[in-house]
Subunit: 331 residues, 2 copies
C-alpha cells in the first residue's frame, strides 16, 4: 500500500537522492524494480523487499491490528511473488507512540503469527522504538531465487502476451468502500471489496514455477494496473496494448461497473490489488495456463507487448480509453 500512497515527489526523492547510492550494485536495479537481489553464493540469490507504512497516512489507524500486520507482510510477499522468489524470512522495524498498548501489540503479533504459518516465513530480527509521532512500521522480506532466476521488469519482448492473475480493481474499490464512498451495491459485494483491500492475497508460487520454463517480465499490481504495466513497459522499452474488456473483474467490481461505467478508471488505475501482471512469450501461453492451474492461481490474457513506448487500453472495437488521472494519454 505504500506505493499507492506515494506522491510523485517521493518517487523523485528516491531517484534523486537514494538511487545514485545504489548505482554500483547490479542487484539494486537502480531502485526501480520491486525488490533487490543479493548474491551471497553461487546457486541461489536472496531477494530483499521492504515497505514502510505510517498510521493516518497508509492506513486509517483504527483498523484491527492483526489486519494491519497481515497487509504489511502480504504486500511485501507480493513483491517477492512478482520476482518469482520463495519467501523465507522478514525483519520488522516499529516506531510506536505511547498510546499503543499491549492489546494492540498482541493483536498485531497475532496477525503476523497467523500469516507466518500460512506463508511459511519467519521473523528473524528487527527493532522497536518509541516515537512522539504516529505508528511507523517497516517490514523487509527476504526470499530466494535460483541464481540469475529473479523475474525482472525489464524482459518484456514485442510479441509477448500480457497476463494478469486474479481480478483487478477490488483493492481500489475496497478502499472507497472503507471510506464509505461506494454506494448502490449489495452488502455482500461491499464486504468482499473491503476484505480484498484489507487482506490481499500474495500470488506466491506461480512465477517461481514459470520462470525456469520461459522468459518473463513481471510486477505486482500495487500502484495500479496501468501504472505497473507502465513500469514494465518503461523498463523493457516496449509498448503494451491492453484489452479493457478482457480485464478480469470480481462479481463485486462488475456490480460497481454496471452501475457506474466511469468506475473503469478507478479499476484500471487505483492500485492495491497485489495481483501479478506479467509478460510471457506468446508461444508459451498454454504452458502458462497449465502451470497456473496447477498453482491454483487464475490467470487471464489481457493484452500484448508491442514495439514502442507506453500503455494503451483499448475497447473491442479498437478505440482507445483515456485515463487522465494516471497521467497517460493516447489516441
Amino acid at each position: 500500500m505504500t506505493r499507492a500512497a506515494k506522491q510523485s515527489g517521493e518517487f523523485d526523492r528516491i531517484a534523486r537522492y537514494f538511487a545514485p547510492l545504489a548505482a554500483s550494485h547490479a542487484g539494486a536495479f537502480g531502485l526501480t524494480d520491486d525488490a533487490a537481489v543479493i548474491t551471497p553464493a553461487p546457486g541461489t540469490e536472496l531477494v530483499v523487499t521492504t515497505d514502510t507504512i505510517v498510521a493516518g497516512v497508509h492506513y486509517i489507524g483504527d483498523e484491527p491490528p492483526e489486519l494491519i500486520a497481515a497487509k504489511l507482510l502480504r504486500v511485501n510477499l507480493s513483491d517477492l511473488a512478482a520476482m518469482g522468489a520463495t519467501p523465507r524470512a522478514y525483519t520488522l522495524n516499529v516506531a510506536l507512540p505511547s498510546d499503543i498498548d499491549d492489546r494492540w501489540l498482541e493483536a498485531f503479533a497475532g496477525g503476523l503469527a497467523e500469516d507466518q504459518a500460512r506463508f511459511e516465513v519467519t521473523l528473524i530480527g528487527g527493532d522497536s522504538v518509541g516515537t512522539p509521532g504516529p505508528v511507523v512500521l517497516s517490514l523487509t522480506a527476504y526470499g530466494e531465487v535460483p541464481a540469475s532466476g529473479a523475474v525482472r521488469r525489464s524482459a518484456a519482448t514485442p510479441g509477448d502476451t500480457v497476463f494478469v492473475s486474479g481480478t483487478i480493481g477490488d483493492g481500489a474499490l475496497g478502499l472507497r468502500a472503507v471510506r464509505g464512498e461506494l454506494s448502490g451495491i449489495s452488502e455482500t459485494h461491499t464486504a468482499a471489496l473491503i476484505a480484498r483491500y484489507r487482506k490481499p492475497e500474495p500470488r506466491l508460487g506461480l512465477l517461481a514455477r514459470l520462470a525456469p520454463e520461459m522468459a518473463l517480465a513481471a510486477a505486482d499490481v500495487s500502484d495500479g494496473l496501468v501504472a505497473d504495466l507502465g513500469h514494465i513497459a518503461d523498463a523493457s522499452d516496449v509498448a503494451m496494448v491492453i484489452r479493457a474488456d478482457d480485464i478480469p473483474l470480481s462479481t463485486a467490481a462488475r456490480a460497481v461497473l454496471d452501475r457506474d461505467p466511469e468506475a473503469l478508471a478507478m479499476i484500471l488505475s487505483g492500485g492495491d490489488d497485489y495481483e501479478l501482471v506479467f509478460c510471457a512469450p506468446h508461444a508459451d501461453s498454454d504452458v502458462v495456463e497449465a502451470i497456473a492451474k496447477e498453482c491454483d492461481v487464475p490467470v487471464t490474457a489481457i493484452g500484448k507487448v508491442e514495439k514502442g513506448p507506453g500503455v494503451r487500453v483499448i475497447r473491442a472495437d479498437g478505440s482507445g480509453i483515456t485515463l487522465g488521472r494516471t497521467g497517460f494519454t493516447h489516441g
Copy 2:
C-alpha cells in the same frame, strides 16, 4: 544508538511479542543477538541487522544530516562487526515530515555516499514515505560470514579472556558534552568526545579474521560495557569479572574521570561506544593481539570469564564496584 535509548519495556515488548514469531528460525537467535543469519546456500551465510531512529528521540534533530546518516549506517556496521561479518549492502526506510527539504536530504545522502565508499557497502533498496510526525529512519545492513562462522554471544567459556577494542566511555561522555552537561575539561577533549559520539568507528575486520582461528563470543558496546558484557554472560551462561583499572580510556575520558571519579559509572554503563567486547580462549591471547595489530584495531584484555552468572567489576584490590543505575548489583 537505538539500543542505548531503549526502555526496558521495549526489550520486554520484543521478547514478548516478536521473539516468539522468530522462534522457528535457528538463525534468528531468538532476537537476542546483534543480528540474524540467513543461510541461502552452502558456503556462506548472510548476516542481517537493523536499527530504527526517531528525531527528537535518538538524536536531537538539528544535527548535520550527514552525521545522522553516517551514525545510522555505522551502528549497523558495528553490529555486523560484532558478528564477524563483512558488510555487503544495506536497505533504508525513511518516513519524513514535510519540513524535510532537499538540502537536508542531499546532506543526508551525502553522508551515506561517503561512508558507502569508506566501508565498501551499497544501498540496494528501501522505501520513502511521508509522515505527519517526526523523522523515522530504519537501516538494515547485510553482511557475509563463512557458513557457521558467525560470532555469537553464546560461546563464552570459563577461562576465556575478555577483550575490548579501542576506548570505552567516550560515547556516553560525548552525549553529555553535546547536551552541555560536561564541564571542566578542555575544548579539545570536549570536541573529541562529541566526535566519538556522533561518528562511531565500526571495528570491522578484526573478528572476521579471528573467528576462523578460535572460539569467540562477542557483542558491540552499544548498550554500555557492563550491559553488553551482561548480554554475553547471559547468553553463554557464564560470569564475567572485569578489572576497572584495565578498561582503556581516551585521554579525554581520563580527563573527565580525573576531575570526577563518579564518572566511572557513566563510562561503564553509558553505551554508544560501538567498540567490540569479546571473549577468546586465554591460550589464544597472543594470537588475538597479533591479529589485532595487523588489523590496526587496538585491543585490551580487561577481565576473564568464570563460572556462575552476572558481571562483576573489581578494583585492583579485589573490591567490587556497585553500579546501581545499570541494575546489576554484586558483593
